[in-house]
């Protein structure tokens, strides 16, 4: 039979098993040893009490966070949705997006607002309204030779189930953009890059904006503005931008 020791070494041994004891995961004999030790050791008894207390407080803190109102209904609604949006729905979504664009669902109040608006516009124009299809079958990378490497570099950082639908240069209101569109069958994601002009600036750090169901995240380099626009969640959209950033910066520094 194992002897129940006492002193520093014994405490060390018992504390190593304390979590399992609290969780009732020890064998009966080990449990009895622990109980015997507690009878003689105030420090370990106190320790067990405090660990239980922490557990109780944690349990309460996590469980007291309310679930969002209507969550259950939204889950049920999602279960009833078709697997993929139907073409008709996509068409209606494109019209809704275009209307939102025309009537300015979101108003930008700051000086950088126009710089964000143009990326929304480009996404809506190229990726949503004119759903991208490569002009050359089988080759979505339509960028000129000097930029082709961008699509290759960025592809490495795109979520694995997103495919490159089209990479091209486009123009809107006299401004040139490099536009890469990715899709996974449900969501569309645009990477938009344009050259900074005059004193234009988005400021330091990552800027975020929303328009209707679209989320935008952006940052600037010395010479360029870089945006991701998508119908992902705001956080996911910003995360994609963060994932792209090192490759894009490296590429643009050499451009």
């Amino acid at each position: 039979m194992t002897q129940t020791g006492f002193g520093e070494q014994a405490c060390h041994k018992f504390r190593a098993r304390l979590d399992s004891y609290i969780d009732d995961e020890l064998l009966t004999e080990s449990n009895l040893e622990m109980i015997e030790h507690f009878r003689r050791c105030n420090a370990c008894t106190q320790e067990a009490r405090e660990r239980r207390d922490t557990r109780r407080r944690l349990q309460k803190a996590v469980r007291d966070v309310p679930a969002p109102a209507g969550l259950e209904q939204r889950v049920r609604d999602r279960l009833r949705q078709p697997k993929h949006p139907q073409p008709k729905k996509l068409f209606l979504m494109a019209i809704a997006a275009a209307l939102a664009l025309c009537f300015g669902v979101v108003r930008f109040r700051d000086s950088g607002g126009e710089l964000l608006r143009m990326a929304f516009d480009d996404h809506l124009h190229c990726a949503v309204t004119h759903h991208p299809a490569p002009r050359l079958p089988g080759e979505p990378n339509q960028l000129p030779e000097r930029l082709r490497g961008l699509a290759v570099a960025v592809r490495e950082r795109v979520p694995s189930d997103f495919a490159l639908l089209l990479a091209h240069e486009c123009q809107d209101q006299g401004r040139s953009f490099v536009h890469l569109t990715f899709g996974d069958g449900l969501h569309l994601l645009s990477l938009v890059i344009t050259r900074r002009e005059n004193d234009e600036s988005l400021g330091v750090g990552v800027r975020r904006a929303a328009r209707g169901r679209f989320q935008l995240a952006a940052f600037e380099t010395g010479d360029f503005f870089v945006y991701t626009v998508s119908d992902l969640s705001a956080q996911a959209n910003a995360n994609v931008l963060a994932a792209f950033a090192p490759e894009i910066r490296a590429f643009l520094d050499q451009a």
Partner: protein
């Protein structure tokens, strides 16, 4: 539902593959749906954002429904849902962050060994959640499953697809880090300095 006419997943359509006396719909309703709020809370703690947590939760229930006909009646539906949840969380993380999984670096762990302290009453639930959120996700997941959801170690091993020994070590380290974070917080409130001095062994 009986009036389901869409062309996607018929979520609660009567099916000929029902077992026992209940339809698949009824079983999903009674076995899976009651865990929705618990799963949301865990998803929230693992993702850190309500929108993302809700996205994950919807994905969990979608996947659960798609494969519910293969779920064995009478087995632990809650643990099965948590397994799907952590699969989805892990998939999301790989998808968006591509961060390497935490390596259990002994030096890191060594530097985080702590003397435990009790949770002072001045520390709020919000403080506790913030302290929990600071723990690396590999440890946080185990702490949540054992301490909050009260799964047995064996179930946690199954949910996370890791050996039971890893569950135990991650739990110990996760709890240690939580206590450390809380102790640091308590010190900023001016609590616990004398306590800690007295309780060194």
């Amino acid at each position: 539902m009986a009036d389901w006419t869409g062309d996607g997943h018929p979520p609660f359509a009567p099916t000929s593959e029902t077992r026992c006396d209940q339809s698949l719909e009824e079983r999903f309703e009674t076995e899976a749906m009651p865990h929705l709020n618990d799963l949301f809370r865990t998803a929230l703690r693992m993702t850190g954002e309500r929108c993302q947590a809700e996205d994950v939760l919807q994905e969990v229930y979608l996947q659960a429904w798609r494969s519910f006909d293969r779920f064995e009646a009478g087995t632990n539906c809650r643990a099965w849902l948590y397994k799907i949840l952590f699969h989805c969380v892990s998939h999301q993380r790989r998808k968006w962050f591509r961060f390497p999984l935490l390596k259990e670096n002994e030096e890191f762990l060594e530097s985080n060994l702590v003397q435990p302290e009790t949770v002072a009453q001045e520390i709020t639930d919000g403080d506790i959640l913030a302290a929990l959120d600071k723990i690396p996700s590999e440890f946080r997941s185990v702490v949540l499953l054992v301490d909050v959801e009260e799964f047995a170690y064996k179930e946690v091993a199954e949910i996370l697809s890791i050996p039971i020994g890893t569950v135990m070590s991650r739990l110990s380290r996760g709890r240690g880090l939580l206590r450390k974070n809380l102790a640091e917080l308590a010190r900023t409130y001016g609590i616990g300095k004398s306590l800690q001095k007295d309780r060194r062994i």
